[in-house]
């Protein structure tokens, strides 16, 4: 079957035999966007987190057919080198990554959280960010999440002034 997808604001039409194929594998191997990671394939680690219509989901357990017509953002489409997304900016400032493998998942989960809740409290972060980082970079991540919220607010203000 053929499915139309919008990934990082690019339209794609893909042919796929099995519509149950997890979106993760379509993104990684058909679209060749390798930033979204496989960690468990069973929705237990969050390495594969992406945004679907602005909501953070775990793409390893999300059949590609559900994604038809939806707006998908992966780590590659979040920000650019010239214009990093606030979460990426904060991650750079705090020097969060160690091995780095889990980081795209956490960055996307955080981006999703900030859409719902631009200034999360520590308790809300604890509740919402449930991905796994084996290097255990949580301490810097928490600082980076608060910093990202701050950058987001600053950018919003600037945006309003510009208008």
């Amino acid at each position: 079957m053929s499915i139309n997808l919008s990934v990082n604001n690019q339209p794609y039409s893909i042919d796929i035999e099995d519509e149950q194929t997890p979106l993760l594998w379509v993104i990684r191997d058909l679209l060749n966007l390798k930033g979204t990671k496989y960690g468990c394939g069973l929705s237990s680690c969050g390495s594969c987190t992406i945004l679907v219509d602005g909501e953070a989901i775990r793409s390893c357990s999300f059949p590609v057919s559900y994604a038809a017509g939806k707006n998908i953002i992966t780590i590659e489409g979040l920000g650019s080198l010239e214009k990093p997304h606030p979460v990426q900016q904060a991650w750079i400032e705090e020097i969060v990554p160690q091995c780095g493998y889990c980081q795209p998942g956490f960055i996307m989960a955080t981006a999703g959280l900030l859409i719902k809740n631009p200034t999360p409290t520590d308790e809300q972060i604890d509740e919402e960010i449930t991905n796994v980082c084996r290097c255990a970079t949580y301490y810097r991540m928490r600082k980076a999440i608060h910093r990202a919220a701050e950058i987001g607010l600053e950018q919003n203000k600037e945006g309003q002034l510009d208008e």
Partner: protein, 727 residues
């Protein structure tokens, strides 16, 4: 320790021109071959592991490009520990180039710059500290000599910075000099610069891999691909000790996307057009296996007992054994730690391509050379025809100190005649891990009348860590007779105690046990430092004071004393409970790096909650304070996770659980909100960083819980132990 200084001699220095790559000038060296005796001597608790480079190939370390940048072919792999950044800082300072001019890449085995051992044991920076600076300085001087000759001036008249050489009105770049020269004068090893003149060493420069890791750049083994690549999936048994017999593959063969079934003597695999199709088809294969026994946790626990297996005395001072035998006032306690999983996020796997008598394997591995040799052996081809291309690791922690799947995947590629990518799934990763072995500890002591320790003995029984492992030099096993990894952290560090002794009992378990960040460090420190706390309590002494009074008067002792005192001061240590929170203290010395930690703990709805960790560590010279702090934060939180929650068990022949969640690990909600790291630098060289801070955390938490509840947790995971003591 006094080390005879062995400089890189002129004969050992290698210069080559362009490799067909980007290099204008390629330098390396034949160095670091040390006799095995030295290896044995250094392969001990208190000494850093040696670095051994390849001796049969010209080693390529630095390539100078026409853009006046330097490509550094790093023989150590980057798994999060920051080794690329630290080594780049060291090289840049002696090369006199900026950090932006240095690009670090993993040395592929075909480039010759091959680490004969591995990346592990927190030894990368310490072992390369001198040789790398010497190489860099030699290359810098070579270029300077050439420039001076062409200008007809003396080398001493040159000034250099950012890869630009100047003298009077003359100015040129390294690249420009290299362009015109084929005949280099190689100086004898130049004097290294004084520490104070370094611009990058000692500074918190950002990680060199920061941007790729924040933007999702494909840098990991699992991101690798080759043109025309197929996807494989190997069937793995869930049972301990299973031997492959045969498989019925008829149903799998007709599944969508399946290209071929590959049956080898030791495994069966399916090859398909996509990863998902390979995974789905794999589940349709009915493999038969042979197992001797369905193991259970009780079987394993019965094996891991002090008194079972083979004992070796690893430390002895005074007459501890005799005093303990003759005393009626022995204080003793037993401690336990469970089987631990590595649970690194990136599963194991590789992309392999075999063409005729040549093979290329792209892989996340900590052992490039061993992997190369195993692939060559399985395929029956020459080692030099195998190119292992290491990638960034999605976590190492010791899990990739043996990567035998490389050879399996190469065999699959050979069978299908195309490049093949093949990875473990998460369940297989959990069940086929090379686990942290479970341990049992028996501690005994006799106190003097003044409350200090008269005699102390630590017995540890552990599954194998390094014994018989592929990376342990073969002679070490029979000579030492004990498992050097299992007793890491198992010696008594308070050497002001007049009589002490440590004994290690070695047990071979039916499943693979191996290196896990810090090896025996976490479990041994948990046992010894919990016991020290028990003794202090019995002696009615402040646990910090109790320790300080029993430290020997030498350099090692002074460094340990200092981290303990600074930690107590910074954390404002008290042994009383305040506002429902208690503090716990513990310290350890790992590979010459002393570390003290103080935790603040409360119990919230039955859950042990660690609010704050103060950590003071003295790794000697700190190359990058920001990254050393990051290693402390990570090791502390990973150690907290292992100490509080993590546990594998054995049921009906299977290791369980097989998923994140059921294998409970610390998440954001469990991580301490405050981690306060203080670094001391009381040594003249950089020491171990990545593992030492994992030592104290387990005992520190257990000691705090005792102060808080009166309950002594002697078995990890501590959260489960607390719950079991409560019912």
């Amino acid at each position: 320790m006094s080390k005879e200084k062995k400089k890189i001699s002129r004969r050992q220095f290698v210069v080559r021109t362009a490799l067909g790559g980007t290099g204008l000038l390629v330098v390396g060296a034949f160095v670091f071959k040390r006799p095995i005796r030295r290896a044995l001597a250094e392969y001990a608790d208190t000494v850093e592991l040696f670095y051994t480079g390849s001796t049969d190939d010209p080693l390529i370390w630095f390539e100078l490009t026409s853009e006046n940048n330097v490509v550094f072919h790093c023989p150590k792999v980057e798994m999060g520990q920051g080794v690329f950044t630290g080594l780049a800082q060291i090289a840049a300072d002696e090369l006199e180039v900026s950090m932006e001019q240095i690009q670090v890449v993993h040395a592929a085995s075909a480039s010759g710059n091959l680490d004969l051992l591995s990346t592990g044991g927190s030894t990368s920076i310490s072992s390369l500290w001198e040789p790398l600076r010497e190489l860099a300085a030699t290359m810098r001087e070579m270029i300077k000599i050439a420039a001076a000759e062409s200008w007809g001036v003396d080398v001493s008249e040159l000034s250099v910075s950012n890869g630009i050489i100047a003298a009077g009105v003359n100015k040129t770049t390294y690249a420009e000099v290299a362009e015109g020269i084929t005949d280099w004068t190689i100086p004898s090893t130049p004097e290294l610069k004084p520490m104070a003149s370094y611009k990058f060493i000692g500074r918190p420069v950002p990680r060199v891999d920061l941007i790729p890791k924040v933007y999702g750049t494909p840098i990991f083994g699992m991101d690798a691909q080759m043109p025309d690549m197929l996807y494989g999936a190997i069937v793995r048994s869930s049972k301990i000790g299973a031997k492959f017999i045969d498989a019925d593959t008829s149903e799998a063969e007709v599944m969508p996307g399946v290209v071929q079934i590959v049956k080898e003597k030791d495994f069966v695999a399916v090859v398909a057009k996509s990863m998902y199709q390979a995974e789905v088809a794999k589940r349709m294969i009915k493999a038969t296996w042979e197992t001797d026994k369905d193991w259970n946790t009780e079987d394993i626990e019965a094996m891991i007992r002090v008194g079972e297996g083979h004992p070796v005395e690893i430390q002895k001072e005074g007459r501890a054994e005799r005093i303990l035998e003759g005393s009626d006032n022995i204080i003793s306690a037993e401690y336990f730690s469970p089987i631990g999983a590595h649970a690194q996020l990136e599963p194991n796997g590789a992309v392999a391509h075999v063409e005729g008598d040549k093979a290329t394997v792209i892989i996340s591995t900590q052992v490039v050379k061993i992997t190369r040799d195993e692939v060559a052996k399985r395929l029956g081809i020459k080692k030099k025809n195998v190119n292992i291309i290491p990638t960034y690791l999605g976590g190492g922690f010791g899990r990739r100190l043996h990567t035998p799947h490389a050879a399996e995947i190469a065999a699959i590629s050979k069978a299908v005649g195309k490049p093949v990518k093949c990875f473990y799934d998460r369940i297989e990763e959990f069940q086929n891990d090379t686990f942290r072995p479970p341990t049992h500890h028996l501690l005994k002591a006799v106190l003097k009348e003044n409350g200090l320790i008269e005699a102390l003995e630590h017995n540890v029984s552990s599954g194998d860590v390094s014994y018989g492992s592929a990376i342990t030099p073969p002679l070490v096993n029979p000579i030492m007779g004990s498992d050097l990894g299992a007793w890491r952290g198992g010696m008594i560090q308070y050497r002001g105690i007049p009589n002490y002794r440590a004994v290690s009992w070695r047990v071979k378990l039916p499943f693979a046990t191996s290196w896990w960040r810090g090896l025996g460090l976490m479990a041994n420190t948990f046992a010894i430092e919990s016991f020290m706390d028990e003794l202090a309590w019995i002696a009615e002494k402040n646990p910090v004071e109790f320790r300080l009074q029993q430290i020997q008067d030498n350099k090692r002792g002074h460094r340990l004393k200092e981290v303990i005192m600074v930690a107590a001061e910074k954390a404002k240590y008290t042994d009383t409970v305040t506002n429902g929170k208690a503090m716990g203290f513990a310290a350890s010395t790992d590979v010459n790096t002393p570390c003290a930690q103080i935790v603040e703990v409360s119990i919230e709805e039955g859950q042990i909650k660690v609010h704050k960790v103060s950590c003071v560590m003295d790794p000697g010279i700190v190359i990058n304070p920001n990254q050393v702090e990051a290693q402390c934060e990570g090791a502390i939180t990973m150690g907290l996770s292992a100490a509080l929650y993590e546990k594998m068990y054995v049921e009906k022949g299977e290791l369980q659980p097989v998923l994140y969640g059921p294998y409970r690990m610390a998440l954001m909600k469990d991580a301490p909100r405050i981690i306060d790291v203080t670094l001391l630098e009381h040594d003249t060289k950089p020491g171990a960083v990545g593992e030492p801070p994992l030592g104290p955390i387990g005992a520190a938490i257990a000691n705090a819980v005792f102060r808080l509840t009166g309950k002594r947790l002697r078995r990890m995971p501590l959260q489960e132990e607390l719950e079991s003591l409560e019912v």
